[in-house]
């Protein structure tokens, strides 16, 4: 099995979000970047396939040279090789077309991406990629087993989960559940040292459709002050919810 894990370089989940250049750009000042959490669950599952089923695992990311520390982290966790497509990932369609090219040339039969990146939340790369490559596709994937060419996956649905039977070649949009939070690997020193020697190929982008563009950003408006209610006066809370907020 040859696995490609698609990772996105995103602000750490604790980041405060600010915009700059007249609210047209995300302000990266002081922001720590990490592997997108939805992708990291998938990367960790890929490591399991490597250890238990002898899979080869490559990682790919689309971005400028500044994303290389994040790619090296994926190599330190245990991926065998990495590819960086040297282009700003400004649109999901564009990113999916770049990744499709990498998948075609690398002959991968399992592609693991995250359900969405936690920054731009497009949630479209795995689906568009699956459609471009005509591969089977499971989104919001919370469990994946591979047996030969057959795959059994579970996906989260509104109010529960669904078990799906399918086959390779397959692409998934993964999320928490693929592995548990406690299974996530922190790279050790040996892994970090080895990652420095591993192959990181830089590819130039292909011509592709830029279907969307973010023209401007805005922060949510600040909330009014909280109204405190005495713990022994829940009647007052019910009154406020009914008459003021009108939600019950």
């Amino acid at each position: 099995m040859k696995i490609l894990v698609c990772i996105s370089n995103v602000p750490d989940t604790t980041s405060k979000i600010n915009f700059t250049d007249g609210d047209t750009k995300f302000d990266t000042n002081g922001v720590q970047f990490v592997i997108n959490p939805n992708d990291e669950f998938g990367l960790t599952r890929a490591m399991w396939f490597k250890e238990k089923q002898g899979a080869t695992v490559h990682v790919v990311s689309v971005g400028g040279p500044t994303i290389e520390p994040t790619i090296r982290k994926a190599l330190a966790i245990g991926a065998d090789e990495a590819i960086r497509v040297n282009a700003e990932p400004t649109d999901g369609f564009f990113v999916a077309e770049q990744l499709a090219e990498v998948v075609k040339n690398g002959d991968y039969n399992l592609v693991i991406a995250g359900r969405e990146s936690i920054d731009y939340n497009g949630g479209m790369v795995p689906g568009i990629l699956a459609s471009l490559l005509n591969m089977n596709f499971v989104n919001t994937c919370i469990s994946l087993e591979i047996d030969g060419e057959n795959a059994t996956a579970q996906r989260e649905i509104d109010g529960g989960k669904e078990t799906i039977s399918t086959s390779l070649p397959l692409i998934i949009g993964g999320q928490k559940g693929l592995v548990q939070e406690s299974d996530l690997k922190i790279p050790n020193m040996r892994g970090i040292m080895m990652a420095r020697q591993k192959k990181l190929t830089v590819l130039e982008p292909i011509e592709a459709l830029n279907a969307t563009a973010d023209t401007k950003f805005e922060k949510p408006t600040a909330k009014g002050a909280v109204k405190m209610v005495d713990a022994n006066n829940v009647d007052e809370l019910i009154n406020l919810l009914h008459n003021e907020a009108k939600v019950i």
């Binding site: 795995p126 689906g127 919001t140 799906i164 830029n210 973010d214 809370l237």
Partner: protein, 322 residues
């Protein structure tokens, strides 16, 4: 050309988000000077869409589409879009809709934008407002392609009546085996209970509840309010509650009318995930809990004392107000 919407249904009945998508689309169609056509799969009440501004319903009755299948459903929508020469295709932001929308987008070479919270800022260029950075911000996104696909954020536009008479036409699709190369084997789903995705009220518990054995009162409170239950990330990581209940940046987003957080301190990732909820109530023993700053109403107190009282008083309130 028309605006095409995908209206979701289950067991022959429309889901609530179908009416919200229709209401939203009616306004978009007005901006574009056109009408709304719906594609509806195995639903028995198609004419009701007229109430929300739909002029035409393409109804598909096909046994092979009995279970949701992203690829087969996407191909049905694509065929309808071609037949209608649709330039704007609108879905909800449900898990199923977000599964199939990118497939529609790819096939039609159409730009796609999910989590849209308002009708277009302008239609030429076509710019929509959507949530981004996991609800920590908004983006105004231009879709530059001839055909546009957008997914409307749940509970963002609301349901508005817009009386129209909907003509209902049969629509048949040709599907083949490759459309069904992923097969649903089993669905494990809560029935008869509100889900986080579509609930108007969500009751959520955190580590302050001390253990999974104390969730009885959360469930009882949710039942009194007809609410869905949810939890914070640590609670799902500890295995106290299923992952599907985890709300926040890496879990599910919540966009309910009322969100009640009990024993949740309010980490930035949690606040991001629930920020689209309209009214937030926080019950916490710690007056310094960051969640109070993001709340509309707060009670500093012990959940084990406050919640049982709240349940009793709400039962009385419900008895008087129904």
């Amino acid at each position: 050309m028309s605006v095409l919407i995908y209206t979701e249904s289950e067991n022959g009945k429309f889901k609530k988000n179908a009416f919200e998508v229709a209401s939203y689309a009616a306004e978009v169609a007005k901006q574009l000077g056109t009408t709304v056509t719906a594609i509806s799969i195995n639903c028995e009440e198609n004419a009701t869409l007229g109430t929300y501004g739909v002029s035409k319903v393409l109804q598909v009755n096909n046994d092979s589409l009995k279970d949701f299948n992203a690829k087969a459903y996407a191909n049905t929508i694509i065929e309808a879009a071609k037949a209608e020469d649709a330039k704007v295709i609108i879905t909800s932001s449900s898990t199923d809709a977000k599964y199939l929308a990118p497939l529609v987008s790819a096939s039609l070479k159409a730009g796609y934008t999910p989590n849209v919270v308002a009708t277009p800022e302008s239609t030429s260029p076509f710019i929509v407002k959507r949530t981004t950075f996991s609800n920590k911000g908004f983006a105004f996104t231009e879709i530059k392609t001839d055909i546009k696909v957008i997914a409307v954020s749940n509970n963002s536009y609301g349901i508005t009546e817009n009386n129209t008479t909907a003509s209902v036409e049969d629509f048949s699709v040709s599907l083949n085996d490759t459309d069904f190369s992923t097969k649903s084997v089993e669905v494990d789903k809560v029935v008869g209970k509100a889900t986080i995705a579509d609930a108007e009220i969500v009751v959520s518990g955190g580590r302050g509840l001390k253990g999974p054995e104390n969730w009885g009162m959360i469930e009882e409170l949710a039942e009194v309010l007809g609410a869905a239950t949810a939890c914070s990330k640590p609670v799902s990581d500890l295995g106290w509650r299923p992952h599907g209940e985890h709300v926040g940046q890496t879990g599910k987003p919540v966009a309910s009318n009322l969100y009640i957080a009990i024993g949740i301190s309010g980490a930035i990732q949690h606040l991001a995930g629930v920020s689209s909820s309209k009214t937030k109530v926080v019950i916490n023993t710690d007056p310094e809990a960051p969640f109070f700053k993001a709340a509309d109403y707060g009670i500093v107190g012990d959940a084990f004392e406050v919640v049982p009282q709240l349940i009793e008083k709400l039962k009385e309130f419900k008895a008087q107000n129904t």
